[in-house]
Chain length 273, copies 2
Amino acid sequence: MIGGSPQPEEVVYLSKRRTPVIPRPEPHRSATGIRNRNRLLAALPEVERQRIEPLLDVIPLRLRETLHKPGESPSHVYFPGGGFCSVVAVLEDGRMIEVATIGREGMVGIAAVLGGRSPSSSAAMVQGAADICYRMTVDALKSELDRRGSFYHLLTNYTEALIGFIMQSTACNAVHTVEQRLARWLLMAHDRMESDEFPLTQEFAAMMLGATRPTVSLVAATLQQAGLIRYYRGHVTIVNRTGLEDTACECYRTATDLVQGVTAPRNTRSRSR
Amino acid sequence: MIGGSPQPEEVVYLSKRRTPVIPRPEPHRSATGIRNRNRLLAALPEVERQRIEPLLDVIPLRLRETLHKPGESPSHVYFPGGGFCSVVAVLEDGRMIEVATIGREGMVGIAAVLGGRSPSSSAAMVQGAADICYRMTVDALKSELDRRGSFYHLLTNYTEALIGFIMQSTACNAVHTVEQRLARWLLMAHDRMESDEFPLTQEFAAMMLGATRPTVSLVAATLQQAGLIRYYRGHVTIVNRTGLEDTACECYRTATDLVQGVTAPRNTRSRSR
DNA sequence: GCGCATCTGTTAGATCCCGAACAGACTCCT
DNA sequence: AGGAGTCTGTTCGGGATCTAACAGATGCGC
């Protein structure tokens, strides 16, 4: 079921895609301020960024750490400077199904943008560790949002995009195979990590996808045999990104365009449908 | 796979549920103003409702009508006074998968609450016809929201709840069977219609659930044989609501609590987890 | 170094669901 | 009235996925 014939990477890549899929990690230039590792923060006009910078803590994102749980009112929002987090819906039996992935392009805690101090119905956890994540209290966020400046518009746009992301996930889980969804997940993780290799157990992948370990194991073996990935004891390596893109469903591209589009320059923006 | 043993309806109902699942259609009392058929509008304080009423059109919701399509910037938002609409994600092949259901308890067009004039990534269509739906232009909505009054807070709360609803749908599609999801869908439709009988073709149900007609046909036959529903040529009748509740997954209750909780009095509010 | 506990990964039978084709019923037009 | 077209509903193999159980590897304590 691995789709398409493997072709020279650049040819396929350039012929099928208008713009590069991954805006690869630009070198960290301290001259323009440390805070621009997160794209939402980096997209702020200078005046606002200077006002907001003092409101930010820098914390590391530790693997498996929980940023908020269902039923709690989150105290902070998070702007990852690397790595990524999963937003998950928690079922009564404790299963956690991923509904969205958030990395440097976004913010964890969109409920705060809607002013909600009500308990969250979702959880957020760290899937890809990172040294730098910017943290802000919900109170500080609200004060800033009340100014109705660029920050407000940026975050409402992002919230809208993330809703679209989640909707796409809903459809994806209904109709696409585990193989397609695993490929999509690996691509999204790859986009947000700085390396081709990162930790991932099959057990975790299975839970995020709402599948079982045996199924993920089977699918992962297929992907490995096709030369798209390698994995060993809780670590995956992306070997053939283009092949993964061919294997993944349309949802990868649609969801990626939505959230990347918030901070992307207009002319490179592409909207599906 | 039909769960539980059929028992006298009231006993089961009262023992398992704290509050009635359906706030049954209260008689339409013109004395308190016609606009309270929609619960969001009805929840407004008198002053705001009087200010907002003139901004509302009354239109009928016609079966299968499309309220907005992906790629378009919606011009209006809609407050159903009955019946219900489906918000659907549209895939490249044209398939439409339901991500949320909106009836008298809600509003169609939440993107406008986030100020988005950007093209919608979803579509909304009428699934249950109704004589009365209140319509408002996005511009008028924005002006009202800018006052940051009760209307604003009500709609941001509703938006937050709807995001939770969609997240639950994401998880549901990943892990629950078509039977559970069909039962859930029928219950949500039943909650929003004023009758036990309403039009529904198996083809449509299949598309909304991301399943195929044969699967829905099989499942529907099972539900009918269990005495939970009857159907004939595009019409369904809910026969045993309690039985359907036992067959549906937890997502029915979780999602229902979320959106009904926005307008429900505090003391009847129940939050899952 | 050895045995146990824990975690990762695989195998095998049962079940759910899909795709394709078929069958039955209503509508409409002449 | 009757036949074509369209829509609703069903049947039947094949494939995808689940459940349950097994196998292999690592780490840790003594």
